[in-house]
Amino acid sequence: MADSLNPSTCPQPRSELLDRTFLEHRAKLLDLAAFLDRCERCETGNEGHDDLRLAAMQGAMKLLIDDQPQRAKRVLEWLSDDSTDLLDHAPGKGATGAPLSPK
């Protein structure tokens, strides 16, 4: 049951939330658009790996406008490695942000 310590909604009215944060997220949307434009202008190279990350991003973006709930969760799941087995050896230390196999 919802109470002050376990809210089930955002208590701020939507109009106020938009007044406060719309411009911030408009800027983030523009950053994303400009990034995609920039990628197209770049000299090509290492297409295989680059394309998988861009393809993953483009797939994730479709989830933003499919009118289904839990977009953040679904985007993170989309950008996750689906395998379940332990690797024989760690291939380095870092992560790339997108699974290396196409979905």
Partner: protein
């Protein structure tokens, strides 16, 4: 409002950060043992690091009125050489008895390899043997969901774990549900680009409630913000959440979990 940052790597921050944190209301931090950005060349390197965590850093924090506690372990990024890692694990009991060491952490997985898992299991067993709290690091980015599930399986396989004494850190929207459903504590790390944001952390509280949840900055040598906890508190206030919820998330929840160590003083 006083707050606790229960996961921050102050060895990699300057005293300017301590000063700013104190001014923002921070009264206590806990600092897990982590990867310094390079692989230490010997177990002695880890020994020296543990001395820094347990003897030097608390004095630096105290100068700003901040209580400092530590966790010790070998982190998952340096667990790929299991022979070396086991030498480090053998050093841990000496430090677990220190008055300001809360438990074993941050253990976990990084790339979800077999070697990482063997060392994770060894440190889980050590925590059980010594009846210590556990703080878990879940992997980054695309590895997080798989790694979180592997970690939960490892904890279950041990057979002696009390979920209420384990904090699974760095949860995000796709992992928090499973962690909470299995009875563990969940930490939301407010770290630019690769983990959660203050706004998303508040979203998670709105979706899951505040029970067994905390927030932390995990500020370290990378691009990070040691004031991200008070920034999240500000976001909660701006949305209209009550002070008692903010206090629960940023003070009483960490205090409740950490007090189980018998050593957490704030």
């Amino acid at each position: 409002m006083a707050y606790i940052d229960p996961h921050i790597h102050m060895v990699s921050r300057t005293t300017d950060d301590y000063q700013r944190m104190a001014m923002a209301g921070c009264v206590a931090v806990t600092e897990p043992a982590f990867w310094a950005g390079f692989d230490r060349s010997s177990p002695q390197g880890f020994y020296d690091y543990f001395v820094q965590l347990t003897e030097i850093e608390p004095k630096r924090a105290a100068a700003f009125g901040i209580a400092h506690h530590a966790w010790v372990c070998i982190n998952p990024k340096e667990a790929e050489d299991p022979g070396f890692a086991r030498e480090v694990v053998e050093l841990l009991p000496e430090f677990l008895d220190k008055p300001n060491v809360l438990g074993i952490g941050e253990i976990g997985l990084n790339k979800n390899s077999k070697n990482e898992m063997s060392i994770l299991e060894a440190q889980i067993a050590l925590a059980v043997q010594h009846d210590r709290l556990i703080l878990v690091h879940t992997p980054h980015l695309e590895d997080k969901l798989k790694g979180t599930r592997l970690i939960l399986d490892a904890l279950r396989r041990n057979g002696h774990i009390n979920p209420e004494r384990v904090l699974i850190d760095h949860v995000e929207e796709h992992t928090v549900g499973e962690v909470l459903d299995q009875g563990y504590w969940a930490g939301m790390t407010l770290y630019p680009d690769s983990k959660c944001t203050p706004a998303r952390a508040v979203d998670i509280v709105e979706c899951y409630g505040s029970e067994r949840l905390w927030i932390n900055s995990a500020g370290d040598w990378g691009h990070s913000d040691p004031l991200s906890v008070p920034k999240c508190m500000a976001e909660m206030r701006m949305r209209g959440h009550p002070p008692e919820l903010i206090h629960r998330l940023t003070f009483s929840n960490p205090q409740t979990f950490l007090a189980q160590s018998g050593k957490f003083v704030v």
